[in-house]
């Protein structure tokens, strides 16, 4: 029953890094890839301005472009350097947004300041590609009346043959070499391997065919300021050892898809590449057999025709700093914008892509998840299950997803 087929689309997020270019092309490609989809989503009667620069005063038009949001509290490296050079650790605001945020829309030709209803604007973030309807008023600002995004791509019907099967999702394990101190980790292993003491609880576990670990696997030490130099934290080798052992104990009961996340020992730039297989030398056999799959973050996974698209949560966590909305709503926004992490590279570290923006959502997904969120939330949007996976280290929660109904439930381990 565990012989499920799986296909990897995570190659979409494999990169061969090159740094000979700046970020302009990244945005350019994003706009090119999304322009048409956004235009097609528009149902306004007003005429269309081809370029932002073609907008003329007092004439109602719509135009497509990339949003830029100027925010005072956004971390600024020049300010940080001043502090670091004076031996002071820079601190960043919890929220980037303030009531003074300024909004712009730009395309490859120019930029225009926009204003309007706070409801419309506050939803927009740097890097999302949208169509806006409105007119340049006599004050010279483009007043937005309405906004359209490309919209969620409706997924195809759930394929047959997945009835009764479940996928487990967990994130934020934050392992270190002291995991034995918290019993919930052992409970998780017991649960997934069906050895749970309670007979009723063993029921759901027996249908679980996969575990997706959505990042946050290692407790990363904080950066340190020495003199006037920031010392990047080095992950403790013993923590990696502990991770290897723990993941092995999980992968022995079912295939594990292991995604890296924030602070985990791989690149910091998105898309994060899979953790190095050398770090799991003791589980080389499991890797070979496919029981332990080292994945990218974000990840596009197809299990028996059910498509999962998700990240370890950095994109959504970053969006939360632009917004007062709940993470699950922002996750939905990313699907509507058809972009997994619009705020990269502005406030989210990313590679400078040249001829592609890999984060543009081109295919439908049945499930879209974000890991390492403060709490579990789940909702359906146009046939797609949206899911925020809570941080295990603090909540002790695991999420189960029914592959057929896309229903989700939470299993909590607490003592």
């Amino acid at each position: 029953m565990r012989a499920l087929s799986e296909s990897h689309e995570s190659d979409a997020f494999a990169v061969s890094p090159s740094y000979n270019q700046q970020y302009a092309n990244f945005y350019y490609m994003r706009l090119q890839m999304l322009k048409q989809a956004v235009s097609e989503a528009v149902d306004w009667d007003s005429p269309h301005a081809d370029r932002v620069l073609d907008v003329v005063p007092n004439k109602k038009v719509w135009v497509v472009g990339t949003i830029y949001r100027e925010m005072k509290n956004k971390p600024n490296i020049i300010d940080d350097l001043v502090k670091i050079n004076h031996g002071i650790t820079p601190e960043h605001a919890e929220k980037y947004t303030t009531p003074q945020d300024l909004f712009y829309i730009e395309d490859e030709h120019g930029r225009m300041a926009i204003a309007g209803n706070a409801l419309h604007l506050s939803q927009l973030v740097t890097g999302c590609v949208v169509a806006i309807l409105g007119a340049e008023n006599s004050d010279g600002l483009f007043v937005v009346e309405d906004v359209r995004a490309a919209g969620i791509i409706p997924p195809p019907a759930i394929p047959s043959g997945v009835s009764g099967k479940k996928i487990a999702l967990v994130s934020g394990l934050l392992l270190d070499n002291k995991i034995q101190e918290s019993p919930k980790y052992q409970l998780l292993v017991d649960f997934l391997s069906g050895q749970f003491g309670d007979a009723t609880a063993a029921g759901p576990a027996s249908n679980i065919c996969r575990l997706v670990v959505a990042g946050g696997v290692i407790a990363a030490p904080p950066a340190e300021l020495i003199g006037s130099r920031v010392q990047r934290p080095q992950t403790d080798a013993s923590a990696v050892q502990a991770l290897g052992e723990y993941i092995r104990s999980l992968a022995l009961s079912m295939p594990v898809h292991l995604m890296p996340g924030e602070g985990d020992p791989t690149d910091i730039a998105l898309p994060q590449q899979p953790l190095h297989k050398g770090l799991f030398a003791a589980s080389a056999d499991l890797i070979k057999s496919g029981a332990l799959v080292l994945e990218t973050n974000p990840l596009m996974l197809d299990i028996d025709g059910v498509k999962l698209l998700g990240s370890s949560g950095q994109p959504v966590s970053d969006l939360c700093r632009y917004n007062e909305s709940e993470a699950i709503e922002l996750l939905q926004k990313t699907l509507e914008w058809r972009h997994l992490c619009p705020t990269a590279p502005d406030t989210l570290c990313s590679y400078p892509f040249v001829d592609n923006d890999p984060f543009v959502v081109q295919h439908a997904a049945h499930v879209c998840f974000a890991g390492n969120q403060p709490f579990y939330a789940s909702k359906m949007a146009l046939g797609t299950r949206l899911l925020t996976v809570p941080d295990f280290a603090s909540t002790g929660q695991l999420v189960l997803l029914d592959m057929e109904s896309l229903e989700t439930e939470v299993v909590a381990f607490s003592v």
Partner: protein, 1055 residues
């Protein structure tokens, strides 16, 4: 124009991409500017119409400039100004004759035989024979300003000339003793030598930037066929009929002056500074704002070639450069600005435009002054002043308009590390500015409408920044107030020294009291020195208790007032004492310098009166400021009080200026002598009074004193206690001084680091609950030939010592930085030194590091080498033994690309050591040296260069990341050797940490530049070497590639 910088190689721009990626830098701002005025893009250039009924009313206008001219053979002062309805006006003030004074002579034999009316007529005839320019002679009763003899006035000839030249000739003839008339013996001393313009404005009570009324039936409107000016109104009025208003009450206001700021771009050739004979002007951006308003109402850019739409901005496209220039000149005259500003316009933009127009034979171009027939001409001005040093500047006349080059203004008023527009904007406006090198400018120009659009936005920003700087620094407001206080036209403030301002005030006051000012021959030399202020020898050290500071407020002005020191009170001729039976101490005083001055009982000095007026006016201005709510009037009043303060303080300097107009060392030496005496007196009084013997807890000690302040260590640890003692001591000592001299308690330093004379640092407290700031004097963190590291280290060490009061922490920090430096862990951008390549040092300065580097770079690649006017950035690299430091300068980019080792020893011993020792010696004594030589300096890492010398022959072998042994055989491509294979995870994690650090840095740096340039979709082309992240972002790019390839090696290791 902006000071341009070399383009960095990192931003290779793909021309195909150029065509689509287009700009927007501060289009955001432009849109917002636009928004606030709600105007269409077709902006109205012309001034408002002159009201049709103006002839039936008085004309009231603010005059902004004055110059002399000859009209129908008659000397005239030409005033330019703006009415309160915003109309420009030129007003010729007619009928005023220039004059000077000479004493009416006595007979050779000493017999007193008065000059009869007949004699005067004959004398006039005699003079007219020699000097046809003589207008008339009068006899008036006057008194010389110089020296006290008696209260009596004596007769003077007031000799009028038809024009200023005649006055000069006649005066010179008297001074050379060429006047022979009857048996009279003429004095060679003449009086009142002052320019015609100033003479007229002094006599008419017109001060700079003041308001005038021309009564409706008194002025004459110049008929159109005789008009000379481009102003809307042109009138003439007799000097007797115009009414001058003092700048108070209603007339505090400003007319709606039009301020135009502009910037030009020219298309230079690679590696050569633009030459007007060859390189075209391709864009001119203009912003026009009404003084006092917040946003410019005209924003436009003239471009050669097409240019895409710019939000809120008028784009004027031209096929030919000639037409652009011609139309710009027309634009100037239509807008008719009252004030023209820009950045480096005096030395670059104006001369370039004028020379370019000449090269193109555009004869109509150089006529944008306010006088129709006056051509704009570039001249070279050498300007020497004790306060400002010798400056050589180009100047272009724009008669009738005020010209403020913000670069020159800021140079005069502020001491900064760098004066590039980037640095200045970063400093005052707290924003980085994109800097596009002139070689890129040509590329953008040769692109398409959108690349030129990008250039235009850049050019507009450079036109807008001077306006914002002017507003932020209150430049025009403060200069206006200085002109009003001192009486001189505003144009004198930038083009002339300090003295003219005092002279103007002195003549105004002298006229009021019937005195005349002797025309002293300038024969002093600047070497002639007198004893200056006193400095109480500092008791050097680190004080961890409060140090109270007692200050004499306005010391020198108050000394002059208290002791009535003036030209008019000086007793030079000691026989006066007996002759008038004067009593010492009552009728006159003897200064500590031994000079004698009469007291106010006999005569009140002119300088003390001027000072008194300045100081009471300042008090009034400050009081008004407190009650004023209107922001513009507040700014004016603040500018006023500042101008008054500066003016009061410059009076003393004027009397001591040995090469000046009216030096009087008896005054200046006496002032400083009193000052010294008072400082000494304060010291001894405080130290005698605050003793344990007198019941205090401690014996007070004066640890330092300088010019007008005394630092007292009272002893107690508590701030409140010391503040109380300070107040008490100030009052106690003040009582012993003559009013208005007053010792004031202002602040406490706690803690206080006294390094040496005029060098100290401390936390500055004016109230006991919270310190105001950290105050440092003479600690050269802003020296321009220091690298950023020095400034950061010194500032941080001082913060730790003074604010955190953690000397150990400061030591630890300094040691860490030095250790990092020696181990090559300091970011290169912190080691960069930047200097401008100017003509002077290029010709004869091979021994300067930046000049030597420029020449070497030229030999390497003439295309990318810095040229005149560029800012050269360099670091000092390790060189062969015996190489001089200037030979070891290298381009930071080149250093990054070739891994060239930095001469860390140079940075330690030539840059860091002196300032560090200076701070730490008072604290640590001899142990301070440990900072530079301790154990932390033992580990030194050397970088292997990837270029030059033996590297060509070396075979590159990779080293094991664990044991650093060369990797061989099967392990050659991997990361570690067979012995270290167990440590692979640890070593991998280490390399990963490196990579993550630089990945994040790369992303944050380049996105920061995108934010700054205001566009996401276009490449960053800025090459501002003044920007703190310019080199860092290049370095991050290099480092991230290296780190990636290092990490990749682990893929070739089996683990």
């Amino acid at each position: 124009m902006s000071v341009a910088v070399k383009r960095s190689p990192e931003t290779e721009i793909d021309p195909a991409k150029r065509s689509r990626t287009q700009p927007t830098q501060f289009e955001e701002d432009l849109t917002r500017l636009h928004s606030q005025k709600g105007q269409s893009v077709d902006q109205i250039w012309a001034r408002p119409e002159v009201p049709s009924d103006f002839r039936s009313k008085d004309i009231v206008f603010q005059q902004i400039d004055a110059e002399e001219t000859t009209l129908n053979g008659e000397s005239t002062v030409r005033l330019f100004g703006v009415t309160d309805t915003g109309n420009s006006i030129m007003c010729d003030v007619t009928g005023f004759l220039h004059y000077f004074y000479v004493p009416v002579p006595i007979l050779r034999d000493g017999a007193s035989e008065p000059f009869t009316d007949e004699d005067v007529r004959e004398f006039a005839a005699y003079l007219r024979e020699q000097f046809p320019g003589l207008a008339k002679i009068e006899i008036v009763m006057k008194q010389s300003l110089w020296g006290y003899r008696s209260e009596h006035k004596s007769p003077f000839f007031k000799i009028f000339g038809r024009d200023p030249m005649a006055v000069t000739r006649m005066r010179s003839s008297f001074e050379h003793n060429n006047i022979q008339f009857k048996r009279y013996e003429f004095s060679q001393q003449t009086y009142d030598n002052i320019s015609y313009t100033l003479r007229c404005t002094v006599d008419c009570h017109i001060t700079g930037m003041s308001w005038l009324t021309l009564p409706k039936d008194k002025y004459v409107v110049v008929p159109d066929n005789k008009r000379q000016a481009r102003t809307q109104l042109e009138v003439s009025v007799s000097f007797k009929d115009l009414i001058a208003h003092s700048p108070d009450g209603e007339f505090l206001k400003s007319a709606p002056l039009r301020v135009l700021s502009f910037d030009i771009e020219c298309a230079g050739r690679k590696g050569i500074f633009p030459d007007p004979a060859i390189d075209p002007v391709i864009q001119i951006a203009n912003m026009v704002q009404v003084q006092g308003e917040k946003t410019p109402f005209i924003r436009n850019v003239f471009t050669v070639g097409t240019c895409s739409k710019i939000a809120g901005t008028q784009v004027l496209e031209y096929e030919r450069e000639q037409d652009l220039l011609t139309d710009w000149s027309k634009f100037m005259n239509e807008v008719d600005p009252d004030v023209i500003i820009g950045y480096n316009t005096s030395n670059f933009d104006f001369p370039y435009l004028i020379n370019r127009a000449e090269a193109l034979k555009l004869r109509q171009f150089p006529y944008f002054a306010r006088l129709k027939h006056v051509q704009n001409v570039v001249s070279l001005e050498k300007f020497s002043s004790k306060a400002y040093g010798t400056l050589e500047n180009k100047a272009t006349n724009v008669d009738g308009r005020i010209q403020i080059d913000m670069l020159q203004y800021i140079r005069r008023e502020y001491k900064l590390r760098s004066y590039s527009l980037n640095s200045v904007s970063a400093h005052f406006l707290e924003e980085q500015k994109e800097d596009v090198h002139h070689s890129i400018i040509t590329e953008l120009q040769n692109g398409n409408a959108e690349s030129r659009h990008r250039l235009a936005v850049y050019c507009l920003k450079d036109a807008y920044l001077p306006l914002r700087l002017m507003d932020k620094l209150m430049a025009l407001v403060n200069m206006t107030e200085m002109a009003r206080v001192t009486g001189v036209p505003i144009s004198y403030l930038l083009s002339r020294g300090q003295q003219i301002k005092v002279i103007s005030q002195l003549f105004r006051k002298a006229l009021e009291v019937g005195m005349v000012v002797p025309n002293m021959k300038q024969e002093g030399s600047s070497d002639e020195q007198y004893e200056g202020a006193t400095v109480i020898e500092p008791v050097r050290g680190y004080y961890s208790m409060p140090i109270a500071t007692l200050d004499f407020s306005s010391l020198y002005p108050s000394v002059m007032m208290a002791h009535n020191l003036c030209y008019t009170t000086l007793i030079e001729d000691r026989s006066t004492i007996d002759r008038l039976n004067l009593k010492e101490g009552e009728d006159y005083i003897r200064t500590p310098n031994g000079d004698l001055f009469v007291t106010t009982k006999i005569r009140r000095g002119l300088l003390p009166i001027i000072l008194h007026e300045l100081i009471s006016a300042r008090k009034r201005a400050k009081a008004d400021l407190k009650n004023e709510t209107d922001p513009f009037r507040r700014a004016v009043l603040d500018g006023r009080q500042l101008a008054l303060k500066i003016s009061a303080n410059s009076v003393y300097g004027f009397t001591g200026a040995t090469v000046g107009k009216l030096p009087c060392l008896a005054i200046s030496s006496s002032v400083t002598a009193f000052g010294r005496q008072m400082i000494e007196h304060t010291k001894s009084m405080v130290e005698k009074h605050y003793t344990t013997k007198n019941g205090y807890d401690f014996d007070a000690q004066v640890i330092y004193g300088d010019t007008d302040s005394v630092m007292v260590k009272f002893g107690p640890q508590e701030l409140e206690k010391c503040m109380e003692l300070g107040k008490e001591a100030a009052d106690l000592v003040s009582e012993t001084f003559v009013s208005p001299i007053k010792l004031e308690f202002e602040k406490v330093y706690f803690p206080y680091l006294l390094i040496n004379k005029k060098r100290y640092a401390g936390l500055y407290w004016t109230r006991p609950d919270k310190f105001d700031k950290m105050d440092t004097k003479g600690i050269e963190t802003v020296r321009r030939d220091n690298c950023q590291l020095v400034q950061n280290v010194i500032e941080t060490a001082l913060n730790r010592i003074l604010i955190d009061r953690d000397v150990k922490g400061a030591e630890k920090y300094v040691k860490q930085v030095i250790s990092d430096l020696l181990q090559n862990r300091i970011d290169l951008s912190q080691l960069v030194i930047t200097k401008a390549l100017t003509k002077d040092n290029y010709d004869d300065g091979d021994k300067q590091a930046h000049v030597a580097l420029a020449k070497r770079m030229r030999a390497r690649d003439p295309g990318s080498a810095p040229t005149l006017g560029d800012r050269v950035a360099y670091v000092i690299i390790r060189g062969a033994a015996g190489m001089k430091n200037y030979q070891k300068s290298e381009d930071p980019i080149y250093v990054l690309e070739h891994n060239i080792p930095i001469d860390t020893e140079y940075y330690l011993s030539n840059q860091l050591s002196k300032p560090l020792l200076r701070i730490f010696e008072p604290i640590l004594g001899d142990k301070a040296n440990q900072l530079l030589t301790g154990a932390h300096t033992r580990t030194i890492s050397k970088v292997t260069p990837t270029t030059g010398g033996l590297m060509k022959f070396a075979v590159k072998t990779e080293l094991c990341k664990g044991c650093k042994r060369p990797l061989r055989g099967a392990y050659a491509k991997g990361a570690v050797c067979e012995n270290c294979i167990d440590r692979v995870p640890e070593l991998y994690l280490h390399s990963l940490a490196d990579l993550n650090g630089v990945q994040e840095k790369f992303a944050r740096l380049w996105t920061q530049c995108q934010r700054c340039q205001g566009s996401l979709h276009q490449d960053v082309i800025c090459s501002s070497k003044d920007c703190p992240i310019f080199f860092m972002r290049r370095k991050a790019q290099k480092e991230v590639e290296t780190s990636e390839s290092e990490l990749r090696k682990f893929d070739f290791t089996e683990w």
